[in-house]
Amino acid sequence: MAMSELDTGRQSIPTRRASAPSGVLARLWSDRWIYLFLLPTAVLYSMYSLWPIGVSWWYSLLDWNGFEENGAYIGLANYREVFQDGFFWRAVGRTALFAVITVPIRLVLALMVAVMLNNPRLPFARLFRTAIFLPVVTTTAIIGVIMQFIFDPAGGPINIMLLETGLVDRPVNFLGDSSTALYTVMGVHIWKWLGVTMIYWLAALQTINEELYEAARVDGANAWNVFRHITVPLLKPFALIIGVLTFLDTINVFDMILTMTRGGPFFSTEVIDVFIYRQAFAATIPRLGYASAAAVAFGLLTIVLAVIQILTFRNAREARRSM
């Protein structure tokens, strides 16, 4: 994203390159302040990002319960087991379902809200924006616990409302029934994160010149035509990055699911990160190697999917351009 900005430093090259050709060391020495500035991040990032990413590959080759100092090397056995594990694939499937359902809803609903909020004549725009954004800043783990109350079959407000309006005649156990739990969590996820996608769209909408709208209205275009022929084409360049950012939220739903359902009932909400957590921390005998293998396998799956997604998008764009 910021590649172009990162390259601007190059303007300083001529003065610096003046040093003798033998002077790689001299150049390093004259740049010592630069490396000193990089040091804190270099050390911390290596320890807490790069080393963990790298060593997870090694862990995934171990049979290791975490109580012992070291695990036993077992080659690719963990991977063989992961790929045959029905729980793993069902967890991957739930994560995929989660993304397939929540991402389009968030994108479309947030776009509708953002377009309405972007109209300078709309009253109370700031108030609405704040209300829709507020859940975003709140602690997901705490929201999860609150939602247990909100959806409680015995005294939760949702069920009381449904019963009083006669929409149901028996309370619905939203989170306790394996047929509804995952969809309830999806609903809460959409509620929690809609505001972020809305802000992305609003930022994109701000790039459209207000005069374009005015001109179109003067020409007699109605709201739908303005949206269809001005807003949508101009938002297209932003759609991919907003889609990716929105999608990334869905592979990180651990906080909400662990606090709302702990992956239950009967594993019906066990998405991939909860599956990994169960193997590594919640099982009676932790399987750190196996959990690492699942994490690496899922990481690879997502990378493959992301590459396919980007390639199809690029091909589609080029195909359209050549038409």
């Binding site: 994203m1 910021a2 590649m3 900005e5 990162l6 430093g9 190059r10 090259i13 610096r16 500035f37 990089l38 804190p40 911390l44 990032y45 320890m47 807490y48 790069l50 080393w51 963990p52 990413i53 060593v55 997870s56 809200v113 309405m116 109209n119 709309l122 109370f124 725009a125 700031r126 108030l127 609405f128 209300a131 829709i132 859940p135 800043v137 602690t139 997901t140 783990a141 705490i142 929201i143 909100i150 005294g155 009381i160 409302m161 009083e164 509620w191 972020v196 802000i199 992305y200 930022a203 950012l245 651990f254 662990l258 606090t259 990160d273 990994i276 590594a280 750190l288 690492s292 994490a295």
Partner: protein, 286 residues
């Protein structure tokens, strides 16, 4: 992005469409706010009344002692302190290390720069949950597993590439003349950064601080696994889950604890809304 309230205007009568849109948004906003209204109301009722009174949001009898119970007996005073210590430490580390890194990436060329940038871009989207086992092992080796410092480093040491990029973007737009003048006056590399560049980057520091505050205050996975054997180090988010497990019938106490935990972040958002929104919108704009 900050639209003022549009005052009702006689010259531009609002169309029916606009009124309908405002109504639709009002309904959405109400649905979005309802869980919070219910929460605050439940935190002031007694546990029985929550069940009996159902949808009535005004408590019959205001039970402020729910808050005292959450703060003292359930340990949320302690958890609040832990959250504040961990969040402050993380924000400081992230701001310092990301400002330094962003500065040199934006304004200098040096051997190895492409490698640094390449590593950042390749690892930008790795979620914390997928590296947690290795982070715990490392912390165990270093003797940091059951300490505040261990949690702070685990939350601030890795990741935060977006913060580096925010600083890089900002520093690269500052005109070169400014520092050249200072260098002529004999300012050192560090002085240029400390007294000219960093003050100029105030808005970015505000945005990075606010976003880091948000992610650390709301962090759950890392504090959860770091405090399995040390309940006294729990943060608010972890304490909430523990409370639910230990006092599953005390709804009003849980509601009071949840309200207490959410108040700081909601207040901060209300006062610094601009930085929150700019920080998030920045992801799309760049």
């Amino acid at each position: 992005m900050n639209r003022p309230f549009s005052p009702p205007s006689i010259h531009k009568p609002r169309s029916i469409g606009l009124t309908l849109q405002a109504l639709a948004l009002a309904v959405i906003s109400l649905v979005w706010m309802y869980p919070f209204l219910w929460l605050v109301s439940a935190s002031l009722k007694d546990s029985l009344e929550i069940f009996v009174s159902g949808l009535d949001l005004i408590p019959a009898d205001w039970q402020w002692n729910n808050y005292a119970r959450a703060w003292n007996d359930a340990g949320f005073g302690r958890y609040m302190l832990n959250s504040i210590v961990i969040t402050t430490g993380s924000v400081l580390i992230v701001v310092v290390r990301c400002a330094l890194t962003g500065y040199v990436l934006a304004r200098y060329n040096f051997i190895g720069k492409r490698v640094v940038v390449g590593i950042f871009l390749a690892t930008i989207f790795i979620p914390a949950g997928y590296t947690i086992i290795a982070v715990m092992e490392l912390s165990q080796e270093l003797g940091l597993l059951n300490t505040h410092l261990g949690i702070i480093l685990a939350l601030s040491g890795g990741g935060h590439v977006a913060a580096v990029l925010l600083y890089t973007g900002y520093f690269s737009r500052i005109p070169r003349e400014l520092e050249e003048a200072a260098v002529l006056d004999g300012a050192s590399f560090f002085q240029v950064f400390r007294s000219i560049m960093l003050p100029l980057a105030g808005p970015v520091t505000a945005t990075v601080s606010v976003l880091t505050f948000l992610s650390t205050w709301n962090a759950f996975f890392v504090p959860l696994v770091f405090t399995f054997s040390r309940p006294d180090l729990r943060t608010l988010a972890v304490g909430m889950l523990a409370f639910r497990g230990e006092h599953s019938t005390d709804w009003s106490g849980a509601a009071a604890a949840a309200t207490l935990s959410l108040i700081p972040v909601v207040l901060l958002f209300m006062f610094l809304q601009r930085y929150f929104l700019e920080g998030i919108a920045g992801a799309v704009k760049s």
